[in-house]
Symmetry: C2
Subunit: 407 residues, 2 copies
């Protein structure tokens, strides 16, 4: 029998009515002849409330105990979901991460899955039960409760789908799918029917937050189609799938914009081996996350190293940058806390030329100056002034005809 | 090193300040050289709130899923308690019932403990940690979460104390100990310093609700002294201990009153074998709990069977009683929904005479009519009119000088 994994996020189970609605979906899938595994997140604000309880006790809760605490959020959700399915007259059973043999390493609050023992799930499938598993959590080898960090429930769902060789992993959320760009910014943005794992990974890292990168990586690694769709409608959403040749006919799948960035340039850095490693080691110890790094060729034995960070992190980084100028004998630093990044993503870029040129032309026609450029195999990003960010996203999106149905 | 078990009830950990206060107690016990095991209940209203969530989904939640749900209440408490001890600079680790190897049978919502594997606790003691264990819960052989029913956290504490051969099991609660009678009713009531397990069992079954009978039974079976005391003061409470010869010098340890009872008499029941079994089978299937049963000798081949139930259960039982009259060919039923029971308890009764006489004399002097009498080896109970209940408790309490320090 084909296996279907359905994951419901916190907003999709935030009230008794929503739990019943999700239960109804699981039951319909069962009636259609699937074995159904449901993965559930903590309800609505539960995780935040639990973290607040911890902070009433201490500013720095022990990570092991924090996992012990917050994992109760998903345990509550799975029990309620199983009750709702029972109440509708169908067999169901809920499991915590530990009960279902989801074993992780011992890195609390951001554990990695090491193994999954799905015998218990298969036993319950054979009895005809819908199986409900708590997302986001596992246990380590000593049965300490661990949690998987941000997006952990998506990861649980895709990992279980992989081990069970599920037909598809459905991610139910409060949006209807993945869009060619943020529809709040780009009026012509359109929902994407099919997107390749690599494209989704680039878009996710650019802030298209419907599904976490780790879950997409699992899907890619184990060839699990992921269906991102709305919990409020029956409409199909976006399928995240294996790249096929036909997908390359579309050069650009989507566009994204990261609005609040700051740009830091260390000017006149002596150009010798190890300098970049030194700079970014010093920045790493400040715990600031660096977005993009750009270094062009050197002139007269020195070069300029530019990187971008979230604009809120700029002040934290300036002191370190100043220190680096002295240590390296660089000329000085330049900063700009009002930049944004606009990007286009598509696997078709690998085989099609002219993508960069079309993006730059669209920005030029709109009189938007490109301050920096960086590219990957399937992505082109431009740093621009923040005042033009929304406009830039719109003109780039429309330059590639993303608003038109073509996939 | 001597082992101390400390159990904190829900009211003793209901706020962050109270958790810190309880943590401070555990730390002081550790500083005094004990290995310390802390058992914690769900905080304040948490269990009720979780049950309410279940009832938003369904009127009849599946018992397994209800256990999965409500067990999160204690898990939250133990994590917060461990954080509070960490925050004060001491090592601590929290465990769920499952993590600490507390295995029960599979009777959800009222499971019985079958085995406890305390290796993990001993390991943590050796590392110097204070160990926090969730009360009220365990897992069955398949790692389904189970709960122990009413008073379950007390039972967890005493069971762990038994397996660890603890010096004492301290039960912290919102009262200062066990009293000779309910001090809200009897102004001269006095806290008892030491009480025998059997006396405590009789008083607990009479509604002296400071500790659950099952926990006392565990203490008795495994010879664990139980110290019932206030979480708000340093004053000693009541020690529940092995009976020793000196205890028999006190004929009566305490008095209790059960206020809201109803009395049902089936009159003229033909006196032949199996009749009582038939009557109380029919009553059992109505799920009404019978308090006392009294049957005197028969006259003219028939007898009267009287039993008491909670007065709220009377209407549920009348129909059954009427049906029994017809089936048995009895004469009819008499009911009185306004009776109460007053009792005295003491192991000294076994060896002292005159206890019953003194109790009956005290009631007679107060012009209180005794409607029914029943006794056990260490208890005498009288059924009286409810209007006299408080007065009866006071006169009986004082007739045995219970208000005077004598133990």
């Amino acid at each position: 029998m084909s296996i279907l994994v359905m994951k419901f996020g916190g907003t999709s189970v935030a009230s008794a009515d929503l739990v019943r609605r999700a239960a109804g979906r699981a039951i319909r899938a069962k009636q259609q002849g699937h074995d159904v595994l449901v993965v559930v997140s903590a309800r609505g604000q539960t995780t935040d409330e639990l973290i607040e309880l911890a902070h009433e006790i201490t500013d720095r809760p022990d990570p092991r105990e924090l996992d012990q605490l917050v994992s109760t959020g998903e345990q509550i959700s799975v029990a309620l979901m199983a009750m709702a399915i029972h109440a509708a007259g169908y067999p169901a059973i809920s499991f915590t991460g530990g009960q279902v043999g989801l074993v992780t390493n011992s890195i609390h609050t951001k554990a990695r899955i090491q193994s999954v023992d799905v015998d218990r799930i298969r036993d319950e499938f054979e009895k005809g039960a819908i199986v409900i598993v708590a997302g986001f959590q596992g246990v380590d080898a000593k049965r300490n409760v661990t949690t998987l960090g941000r997006g952990g429930s998506d990861t649980t769902a895709v990992a279980l789908a992989a081990v069970l060789r599920a037909e598809v992993c459905e991610i139910y959320t409060d949006v209807s799918g993945v869009y060619t760009a943020d529809p709040r910014v780009v009026p012509t943005a359109r929902q994407i029917d099919r997107i390749a794992y690599d494209e989704m990974l680039e878009l996710a890292s650019l802030g298209a937050g419907v599904i976490h990168s780790r879950a997409v990586e699992f899907g890619k690694k184990y060839h699990i189609p992921i269906h991102v769709r709305s919990s409020m409608t029956e409409d199909p959403g976006t399928m995240i799938v294996e790249e096929v040749g036909a997908m390359e006919q579309i050069t650009v799948r989507g566009a994204a914009m990261t609005k609040d960035l700051a740009k830091v340039t260390i000017c006149g850095v002596p150009d010798h081996p190890g300098v970049a490693a030194h700079i970014f080691h010093e920045i790493a110890v400040t715990n600031v996350v660096v977005d993009d790094i750009i270094q062009n060729i050197s002139r007269d034995g020195s070069t300029d190293v530019t990187f971008t960070v979230a604009s809120g992190d700029l002040s934290a980084i300036v002191e370190t940058a100043g220190k680096l100028v002295k240590e390296l004998g660089a000329r000085g630093i330049l900063t700009d806390k009002n930049v944004s990044k606009v990007s286009v993503v598509g696997v078709g870029m690998r085989t099609h030329t002219g993508v960069a040129e079309r993006m730059f032309r669209a920005l030029a026609d709109a009189k938007i100056n490109i301050q920096m450029i960086s590219t990957s195999e399937i992505k082109i990003s431009c740093i621009i002034d923040r005042a033009s960010a929304e406009k830039a996203l719109c003109v780039v999106h429309d330059a590639f005809g993303l608003g038109e149905k073509n996939d």
